[in-house]
Assembly symmetry: C2
Homo-oligomer: 634 residues x 2
């Protein structure tokens, strides 16, 4: 059947393209249609041709050259260096023989593309190779290198994966789309292990697949044993953002035989790889291994299809996915699902911030259509009114200013991904403007690597940051104020040295180097510990926040008592989540107005509180399903 569809598409393509274009082969590659031609230059020079064809076919189209017209690799490299200006700073060129792509890694990828793509088209015309242009991050990233290598070394396998996937996606709907529903598999009336299954008569799509890192055996993982879930029936997994409560259980799916795709943004892929590997590592160190390993993270990478915001993609016979900015962390996305022939449209917000932050633009609230919204309710309680961002920053600066002035050090325990980078931008800005003293800002633990990933994806940052980076040529992340902490000795030098600011994981002092810094600084009256994130019950952070003055901690196997003499400060308002007001405002501003709002990702009472407020204020039907419940959306 599929080959019939493919034949049909090929026929249309041949009919529509000018006769002189020789179509050698047409293939599915995941959601895309790839045309191999002997005259790629004709097509690439006439952009409208492809745009119109794509519109007619309602498919995304990629043009590549037939093997017969590919220039010899050595000569291609020379040609590329000839065509691309030196300022682009190419760092690497390699070839994907399977697809006919040449990968060009450069510090300034924009210059490899050229104005309106003129430079990259020149490459095609002169070499036949289709250029795939990647940014060389200004801070080198192990993870990005790992991801790129994985894809490079498994090109053939990936091609096969994508072809099989294409076959499934384009096979057409077998049943009428008379209904659609959502099964809550985790993260409903709770925070952690976010996971839900979208079902139509023709497809099954999993949205997020997280863990609850603080959960016990029964509450750590989503309910994959819900009767309607079967790995072999699954069409796709869509990931909202990289945090482990949304991605931590993904490798498990591949461990247990899932062979289908993951859809997410490129930064989400990279950041979740970082977090998943770290999770495996910690579990291993704590002698409590996870039910999967590095191999399965690797397998996830091979099966991930990255999408940019706004890119419309078929992910199953009757579901079309578009990701939109969610404003929560780098690459975080709202998933817009268009079901059937417009029968229904659903938006899953994932975690989102409906306010401009230093790092990101506020979440999208306008969609072409939307009937059902599944939204987070982390701060959905009526009491969840955090101070404004502006206020929070002012408090932060005042505290740092005072501490540095009295010769103290500032320790900020922080989550590696998201909040850390937000703070880095704030600190860099205030320091640059002389509002706090210029002291070294030490970046310890995974934060550095997460920041490197941020520098590889500037196009996902706020307009303000993009302006700084692209137009003013100044990237705050590579400011000289930031210092990567390399080893234990250095840490000792830092705590014994001059006033400084230290950002270190973990954010709740539940392990990692933040605890070590605390041990060193706790008795120093001049220094300050600033909490910027939620401290969960039972964590060391929580105890200190509560005002405990004597803290017993293990030191080289023995328990030692630490007297807390340093200043302890909690500053709210740096959250990546919308507060109560912003959640309500978001529903109000949603355009078009949805018919139904389903609440997830919040403690039970906050979920219920928000649902009842939305219902009362806006007369919109709200639902607060439990885990393991299925709710009709259409």
């Amino acid at each position: 059947m599929t080959s019939e569809i493919l034949e049909e598409i090929k026929k249309t393509i041949v009919q529509r393209l000018p006769e002189r274009v020789q179509v050698a082969k047409v293939e599915f590659e995941g959601p895309e249609v790839v045309i191999y031609t002997k005259n790629p230059e004709i097509i690439t020079e006439n952009g409208d041709l492809i745009r119109n064809l794509a519109k007619d076919l309602r498919k995304r189209i990629i043009i590549r050259s037939d093997k017969s017209v590919l220039l010899d690799p050595e000569k291609t490299i020379d040609k590329i260096h000839e065509i691309v200006p030196e300022e682009a700073k190419i760092t690497n060129i390699y070839f994907d023989e399977v697809t006919g792509e040449v990968v060009i890694e450069a510090k300034k990828p924009g210059l490899v593309i050229g104005k309106y793509g003129v430079t990259s088209r020149e490459v095609v015309k002169n070499t036949g190779w289709a250029p795939k242009i990647l940014r060389t991050p200004p801070i080198s990233s192990e993870i990005i290198e790992r991801v790129r290598n994985t894809l490079k070394h498994n090109s053939k396998e990936r091609k096969k994966i994508l072809q099989d996937l294409g076959t499934r996606i384009h096979q057409g709907s077998k049943y009428e789309n008379e209904w659609a529903r959502l099964t809550s598999m985790g993260g409903f009336r709770e925070v952690g292990r976010s996971c839900m299954l979208l079902q139509t008569p023709n497809s099954r799509v999993l949205l997020d697949c997280g863990v609850n890192v603080a959960g016990d055996e029964k509450s750590a993982y989503p309910f994959l044993n819900v009767p309607e879930f079967s790995l072999s029936d699954l069409d796709a997994v869509v990931i909202s953002h990289a945090h482990l409560d949304h991605t931590g259980f993904l490798p498990y799916l591949y461990h247990y035989g899932y062979e289908g795709p993951i859809y997410c943004t490129a930064p989400t892929r990279d950041l979740m790889t970082l977090l998943q590997l770290d999770h495996i590592d910690i579990a291993h160190r704590e002698d409590d291994p996870l039910p999967f390993n590095i191999k399965h993270v690797q397998k996830s990478i091979k099966h991930t299809i990255t999408l940019d915001y706004g890119e419309v993609t078929d992910i199953s016979p009757d579901i079309r996915l578009t990701l939109h900015n969610a404003g929560h962390i780098l690459g975080s996305a709202m998933s817009h699902m268009h079901i059937g022939d417009g029968q229904h449209n659903m938006v899953y917000t994932g975690d989102f911030k409906y306010e401009r932050s230093r790092l990101l633009e506020p979440a999208t609230a306008r969609f072409p259509r939307v009937e059902t919204v599944v939204m987070e309710s982390t701060y959905g309680g009526h009491e969840d009114v955090q101070p404004s961002r502006n206020n929070a920053e002012k408090q932060m600066m005042k505290t740092i200013y005072k501490t540095l002035k009295r010769g103290g050090k500032v320790l900020i325990p922080v989550f590696a991904v998201g909040r850390a980078q937000e703070l880095m931008i704030v600190l860099e800005e205030y320091m640059r403007h002389g509002m706090i003293e210029e002291v070294p800002i030490y970046i310890d633990g995974m934060i550095w690597e997460a920041t490197a990933i941020h520098t590889a994806r500037p196009e996902y940052l706020s307009k303000d940051l993009r302006d700084q980076i692209f137009h003013m040529g100044r990237n705050p992340f590579i400011s000289e104020s930031f210092h990567k902490v390399q080893n234990v000795n250095e840490r000792k030098d830092i705590v014994e040295g001059e006033p400084c600011i230290i950002l270190s994981t973990s954010g709740m002092l539940t392990g990692g180097n933040s605890v070590e810094y605390f041990k060193w600084l706790s008795e120093d009256e001049k220094s300050t510990l600033i909490f910027v994130g939620y401290q969960s019950e039972g964590s060391l952070g929580r105890r200190i926040q509560k005002g405990w003055k004597e803290i017993p901690l293990k030191e080289e196997g023995k328990t030692k008592l630490y007297n807390v003499k340093m200043e302890i400060k909690t500053i709210e308002g740096f959250s990546g989540h919308s507060n109560r007001r912003q959640l309500m405002e978001y529903v109000k501003k949603l355009s078009p107005r949805p018919e139904k709002v389903i609440m997830c990702h919040g403690d039970a009472y906050k979920t219920l509180d928000l649902a009842s407020s939305v219902h009362r204020s806006y007369k919109i039907e709200t639902k607060t399903p439990l885990n393991l419940e299925s709710t009709r959306i259409q």
Copy 2:
């Protein structure tokens, strides 16, 4: 594994029974454990022995004789006639060689059993054969004969079915019972196609499997395509009562490969067989055949396990079923489901009447435990206040009295199962007491057969009727006032003859002989048409009820206009459903008080109306799921 469990059970049995009892074999037979012994008399004479054993094992136990001690059949027949008194009126004796049972059909089965079972024990002692005693109905029933024959001729196959089933039921729970949920597959926020799936980590049980006879292609059948439903995973089907909106799609399951059991009361099995066969017949005549045929009804019969009210039965590794009287029609049952080791108890009411009727006792409202109730809401609207039964009867009598007095005939179109028998009892009673004239009551169509089934199961009737039948020896169903209409000619004689009362199907004049009677009588000013049931929009009954005076109807291929001159009367209050007040009262009286009430079987607004009233009045959580939704009950 199972044989291990069986071995274990056998060991316990051998230990507990006196040494002189020789246990030859222990087998599962569906939910029961069968002990084959060479000395059945020892056990049967000591009832406590088995009762205690059953209690210890928490299983139902049956005693049968080992083949070696069975008396020759011919001699057994003689022996039985010797032991059983002649007044028992034995009509048939036959042997089930597979099980070692002797089936004794008698007009007075109580006399075959004897006081405290003394007579039937005598049979065991003298012949070795375990007597299975069936009532010979005073009105002969084709359906009952058909069912008994089916079971008789497929004894070996049935034994195999039951053994396989036993294996599955007793295999023990594989997973912890941390949740239970219910998927709505049909009949939620609507009336018709009742069907729901109860799921636990260890089992899947379908409750009812009906059709909507008035539905189109999309609304006629339950959503068997819901992702969590799979015929091969299904442990059991439990049927609340015989009406087609609860049983009409059952044969389809067997058509598509279901091999598991159906649990229901014996009258439900017989009545649903009647209705299913009739449904197939009508569909065939209307040239719109159903997606199954008689073979599959036959297969259903072979897979049905009948339960009496109050009989506790394991139907899956973690679900224990008990049926209770629902008061709706003969054999109608509420299903009490005990899940796991008491983790949860759910009651599905099916259709029920919480008021004593002529025919039946009111529905049970006391259960050992109950956390969730799934209840019907047919008359759940606050406007659904029907007149009392007493009032309805008075109106009926007045109307009949007047009509007969003026020399007219009374035509009552009525559903064959339930309401017809209720009216028969009322009419017989009033006629016997001289409150209406003694005229023939003609019983036309399927009503006669349905009544025959009622006479086969007097133990399911109201206490009042049972008293009449068992103690006063007077069965109102076999009153001489009732006349079975045999053929067309007879019908003509009836309408042209003396004053009389005619009960005929269909109840809404949508076909069947009631339409023919109407044609004959419509222009007779002296006669009366009485509606006693709901007339659905679009039916002929509805049009007449609305007051149409000219009715075009097909007569021998041509359309003829009928002038309605006969009196038209609607009498409410004979419904088999609880009215609004009774529904509310039922929830109030439920003992123990449930935590959650889920509404089904009602038009959307009635379902919502009742749910909100129950919530407001009793502060019990209520749910009104849509079809295709899954709701947590635990």
